[in-house]
């Protein structure tokens, strides 16, 4: 059952990602990307990351992609006349490199996993299902809050500084006169 749902979401995600990359219109690309993000959210739920799934929808689909759409519409790039795709040579190169990368990563994953996808190594600290149990006990938010605000407090604070810098930068860039 879980496998079926997993491969369903994965298939949708991959197909939508491909379409996102290959559609001519920027709006269509963005929408296919949104679909990919949704499928990924589904995958996250299957992988016991409910909170991340919600945030994925909230931040990625709900905020970042809306921002992308907003800019596309603002610049009226929705219907690009000539394609912004590269020529046949470029497409060939892109496909070649993409496939090459996919193969290499795939191989890498197989190596790291000890020769097969199904094999579960005992090197990991958590037994199967443990994370789901923790999530059940502490709540989806509580499970993340603990490491986030204890172990990763400094990165968290630095992220806030980064966001502040981004805000300032965006304002400076977007405002003609300050």
């Amino acid at each position: 059952m879980r496998e079926v749902v997993f491969w369903g979401f994965s298939g949708v995600a991959l197909a939508a990602a491909l379409l996102c990359v290959t559609r001519r219109s920027a709006v269509a690309s963005a929408l296919w990307l949104v679909l990919t993000l949704f499928s990924l959210a589904g995958l996250f739920v299957l992988l016991d990351a409910q909170f991340i799934a919600a945030i994925q929808v909230l931040v990625y689909a709900g905020a970042i992609m809306v921002l992308f759409l907003f800019v596309i519409m603002l610049l009226n790039l929705g219907r690009a006349g000539p394609s912004d795709m590269r020529g046949w040579l470029g497409r060939g190169v892109a496909a070649l490199l993409g496939v090459g990368l996919a193969v290499e990563l795939w191989v890498l994953v197989r190596i790291v996993r000890g020769g097969g996808f199904a094999a579960e190594t005992a090197a990991y600290p958590l037994p199967p299902g443990e994370l789901a149990r923790v999530q059940q006990a502490e709540g989806a938010v509580g499970m993340l809050a603990e490491p986030l605000f204890r172990q990763y407090l400094v990165p968290f604070e630095i992220t806030s500084v980064l966001l502040l810098a981004a805000i300032v930068g965006a304002v400076v860039l977007a405002k003609r006169k300050i």
């Binding site: 996102c20 990924l40 970042i64 596309i72 497409r91 990368l101 996993r113 996808f117 958590l126």
Partner: protein, 98 residues
Amino acid sequence: MLLGPALGVSALLFAIGVGGVLLRRNAIVIFMCVELMLNAVNLTFVALAQQIGPQGQVIVFFVMAVAAAEAAVGLAIILAVYRHKESVNLQDVNLLRG
């Protein structure tokens, strides 16, 4: 336990994202392909978090924050470029040329 398959899917997604960056000329679309790559990595983190602990999910949290910052600044840059060049096609944008 869907760790292996998830890692495989993530690898494919990442490759698609890289291909997209190579394939497209529209700056915004390239941006979206970068987002795709980030998401592929997120999938890896979440998949591994199943066996390594919730810290993996915390990293995803940071990736998202960085992605949000990147989107804000990147789109602002694209807007600024568009204001000058009337285009977001990267072939028209070669300010880096020496």
